[in-house]
């Protein structure tokens, strides 16, 4: 492999009101390598890449690519230079076809004007005509063919004339990669690409990446998942709080080493868990069916039970019904069939308020969309569910002084940082971890009987992750029944008493952490078929619950 440097970012400094996002960071990427960019949320990875991709301009610092200095003003400049980005949130326009999406912006003229030969060739090739043609015609046929060829070559299995809104998540990601490939990039930036993929799709992605690097492409792989860094990267640069901590060869580092670099101290991965006696049943649901936001069935007949003082973990890849299961259990989504009983009372079809009054607390998957009102103050968000309580006023009136005091106790009790005044600090000003702590404070201070937590540690910095997990265990000790949905198998195995696996809207497997069936769980999350795992090559046979091979 050619060891020459393909990208050199030097002394990048970028400041926003109130925060230094990049504090004189260096990044060096070698040709043909997969270079990881690791850091917690808010470490500056996203800003650094947006600078590289032309969306931002650095306040100071230089970018050198393929030996030349780049001064980019727009993503177009980056594309022209050969830098492509595959975003975490896909930049695709649903109403347009795949080909249209990919061709957008390149201003291909119609076939008659492309490399004209024959009659009037010189006229058609003149800059004036070319200029007009690129604007006022649409060259789709030839590009469509080329894109389809590219897609087939890498085994993407998509028809490029379909509208994007008809594609699933995995397919859309492939379109994103295709976009970059079509523009002939030399450096590809991938931003948390596995966030929405099943493990087997992630493996496929890694294979594709290997093939791309074999062909001379260089890749920057942004992630906060230590496991992935170990799996796919050659070297990794770690960022912490806007500063570069260092660049290391992945091979010699353990996950603990990398975590230490990210956080600056040792992070515990093991947590103390006591044996709990089982008590009454907090949640009982039979035959739950529910639709997702688009109206398609996402839950297809689920039975589930949570006892007092028990953490039931639900493993599964995003898109298989976990979100809907969490929302149905928490009472914010109405099931299309089935029964739900909370603490013995039937709550099927009840309103969210009734669930809240029956002691159900909910930490949703998407903090910003449904967990809080960003533009409102911390005080408003703290009282989001409890404002009808008597302590805040009689009848119709609401005593904001009481509400403010309550918010303050929450902030102090749960160590929510970044709040100087609960009435002035806005929810959007809090970092991901602190916002999650606030939400947790709000949900737990009500002393719930049932806590539904969906991806509670996603996008949260390592320090806050510890805190959240400790809180979940504390609730368990207190006798709360916890329904924990997570994509993080480590987390589930560390915290749960029982683990359920959801796949395509059904519970397909149940086990306990003690049985040690980590691989089996990972398998069932994907439908129970045999697959290649990331370390390459091992076929995993089905086992029965006891762990011995059948």
């Amino acid at each position: 492999m050619d060891e020459a440097e393909v990208l050199r970012m030097e002394n990048i400094y970028k400041e926003f009101p109130g925060v230094v996002a990049n504090d004189y960071i260096d990044l060096h990427v070698r040709r043909g390598e997969v270079h990881g960019l690791l850091g917690e949320n808010g470490a500056g990875k996203s800003t650094l890449m947006k600078i590289l991709y032309g969306l931002y301009t650095p306040d100071s610092g230089e970018v050198h690519f393929e030996g030349e200095r780049l001064d980019m003003d727009s993503p177009q400049d980056a594309i022209d230079a050969g830098i492509g980005m595959v975003h975490q949130h896909f930049k695709l326009i649903p109403r347009l076809t795949i080909a249209q999406n990919i061709v957008l912006g390149s201003r291909e003229p119609a076939a008659a004007f492309r490399d004209p030969e024959g009659p009037l060739a010189s006229l058609r090739a003149s800059s004036l005509v070319q200029g007009l043609a690129s604007r006022f015609t649409l060259g789709l046929d030839a590009p469509e063919r080329e894109i389809q060829e590219l897609a087939d070559r890498y085994g993407f299995d998509i028809d490029v004339s379909t509208k994007v809104r008809e594609l699933d998540v995995g397919q859309r990601q492939r379109v994103e990669i295709l976009k970059a490939l079509y523009r002939d990039v030399d450096l590809l930036i991938l931003d948390e690409p596995t966030a929405v993929l099943t493990p087997s799709e992630a493996d496929r992605l890694f294979e594709t990446l290997e093939e791309l690097t074999d062909n001379g492409l260089s890749i920057i792989f942004i992630t906060h998942k230590l496991r992935e860094v170990k799996a796919i990267t050659d070297r990794v640069t770690v960022l912490r709080e806007g500063e570069g901590v260092g660049t290391v060869d992945t091979a010699g580092m353990s996950r603990a080493d990398l975590a230490r670099m990210m956080v600056g101290r040792d992070v515990l991965f093991e947590l103390e868990k006591d044996e709990m006696e089982s008590g009454g049943t907090v949640l009982e649901a039979q035959n739950l069916r529910a639709n997702d936001d688009r109206g398609f069935e996402a839950l297809s007949g689920v039975d589930i039970e949570v006892q007092e003082g028990e953490i039931v973990g639900v493993a599964g890849v995003s898109g298989n019904g976990q979100k809907e299961l969490a929302e149905v259990a928490a009472g914010v989504r109405e099931p299309t069939a089935g029964d739900i009983r909370v603490g013995g009372d039937t709550l099927t079809g009840a309103s969210p308020r009734e669930f809240i009054e029956h002691g159900v607390s909910f930490v949703p998957e998407d903090r910003h969309e449904t967990g809080c009102a960003e533009e409102l103050s911390v005080m408003h968000n703290a009282a989001m569910k409890d404002y009808p309580d008597e302590q805040f006023g009689d009848g119709y009136a609401l005593d904001y002084d009481e509400v403010g005091a309550y918010a303050e106790t929450l902030v102090e009790g749960f160590d929510v940082r970044g709040v100087h005044e609960v009435r002035e600090a806005l929810a959007k000003d809090l970092s991901g971890g602190n916002l999650q702590k606030l939400i947790l404070a709000r949900e737990l201070s009500r002393d719930p009987d049932l806590l539904v937590a969906n991806q509670p540690t996603r996008g949260v910095d390592v320090g806050a992750i510890e805190f959240v997990r400790e809180q979940l265990l504390a609730q368990r000790e207190d006798g709360t029944g916890v329904l924990l949905l997570s994509e993080d198998l480590d987390e589930l195995f560390d915290l749960s008493d029982r683990i359920l696996v959801v796949y395509e809207g059904e519970i397909v497997y149940e086990t306990t952490p003690e049985a040690g069936e980590r691989e089996r769980v990972g398998l069932e999350m994907n439908g129970g078929q045999t697959s290649m795992d990331a370390s390459g090559g091992e076929q995993i046979a089905a086992t029965d619950g006891s762990g011995s091979e059948v």
Binding site: D71, C372, E374, M384
Partner: protein, 366 residues
């Protein structure tokens, strides 16, 4: 040479900007308006003097301003309250018409003593406005249909209904004009004792107080605020977006309607085709100017009332077409918008020597 415009988002809005905005906005509008005046050979200073100073220093001017403020305050509330729930009520004008229609009809056709008749008229008007706004509210709450479009369409329909009624079934008076009969004395709003201003002003001020109380001191007000910020989270927290949307728009419609009947029963005593010079539309910048509180909104309404009255005054005294008021109003909105922008970003404009085209040094081979 190149003009370079640097925009940096502001972290805080400096005090002079927050307090100065209304002042600068108005001054700017008046300044530009003076261009229009000059083009008609009118001395701007004389015109503005007539418009503001003369109006405010005469008893008639002050009472007229307060009278005009009544529909403006109420229409302003009609836009303001839904705005808190992140809804745009562009149809205050139509709701105003409906209130005027229903209230006038009751006043003309129901015989009751004033003590019962006037409240009945007000209640009927409020109901009419509430229903007129309630339908778009329901369409938005249940089906998610954009209320900007629906309230606007409903306004045009209301305007045509008003015109039809006033030239047809409800036509009265003499000479076949587009107006109704005069309201009987019992149906007219009494004046506030000791002034020439009708008691509609009290209704308006009560409404302002009610809205302020609602938003700042009640649980429902908390819900309105929350729904206005993130309706999805509010739903999950047990609040009802449906209820909030229906309420704020229906209430808004009721307020606008009260403004409509207030103007008829308090000021004009009969429903004419063109009785309201776009109060419902003026309500929009009023609500925006007063976005931070009902008190600010009321002040804004008073200012626009002054504009209207002073404009009429100026029109009569100096022969300047009253359309100048529309122009100045539009300019106020224009400068308001610009001020919003300046509040969010600090703008640095500088002249620089030509700089090299970005990326020019990037080699094009390979």
């Amino acid at each position: 040479m190149e003009v370079d415009v640097e925009l940096t988002p502001r972290e805080e809005v400096p005090a002079w900007l927050t307090y100065g905005t209304p002042v600068f906005t108005v001054l700017g509008a008046l300044l530009v308006g003076s261009v229009a005046l000059l083009s008609l050979d009118v001395n701007p200073l004389a015109a503005y003097e007539t418009m503001f100073v003369q109006t405010l220093t005469s008893e008639f001017g002050v009472s007229e301003t307060l009278i005009r403020a009544v529909p403006l305050i109420l229409a302003g509330l009609a836009v303001y309250l839904p705005m808190k729930a992140d809804l745009w009520n562009i149809g205050a004008e139509g709701q105003l018409y409906m209130g005027a229609i229903v209230g006038t009809w009751i006043g003309l056709n129901v015989s009751l003593p004033a003590v019962a008749l006037v409240p009945l008229m007000l209640a009927g008007a409020a109901l009419g406005g509430a229903v007129w706004a309630g339908i778009p509210a329901w369409l938005r709450a249940k089906w998610g249909i954009n209320e900007i479009i629906t309230t606007l369409l409903f306004t045009f329909i209301a305007a045509d209904i008003k015109n039809y009624l006033v030239r047809g079934p409800m036509q009265g008076g003499f000479g076949g004009f587009a107006q109704t009969d005069t309201l009987p004395g019992v149906a007219q709003l009494p004046a506030i004792p000791g002034t020439n201003v009708h008691s509609g002003l009290l209704v308006a001020l009560l409404a302002v107080g009610a809205v302020g109380l609602l938003l700042n001191r009640t649980r429902f007000g908390f819900e309105i605020t929350f729904v206005g910020s993130n309706s999805e989270a509010a739903e999950q927290a047990g609040m009802s977006r449906y209820k909030v949307y229906l309420f704020v728009l229906a209430a808004g419609g009721a307020f606008a309607a009260l403004g409509g009947i207030g103007e008829i029963a308090g000021n004009q005593a009969r429903l004419r085709a063109f009785f309201a010079p776009g109060y419902g539309y003026t309500a929009i910048p009023i609500a925006l100017l007063g976005r931070n509180g009902v008190l600010q909104m009321t002040l804004a309404a008073l200012f626009f009332a002054l504009l209207f009255v002073g404009g009429d005054n100026m029109s009569v005294a100096l022969g300047v077409p009253a359309a100048l008021i529309d122009i100045i109003q539009a300019l106020v909105i224009l400068f308001l918008i610009t001020a919003e922008f300046v509040k969010r970003y600090s703008v640095d404009v500088s002249l620089k020597r030509g700089r090299p085209v970005p990326g020019a040094e990037v080699a094009t081979d390979g």
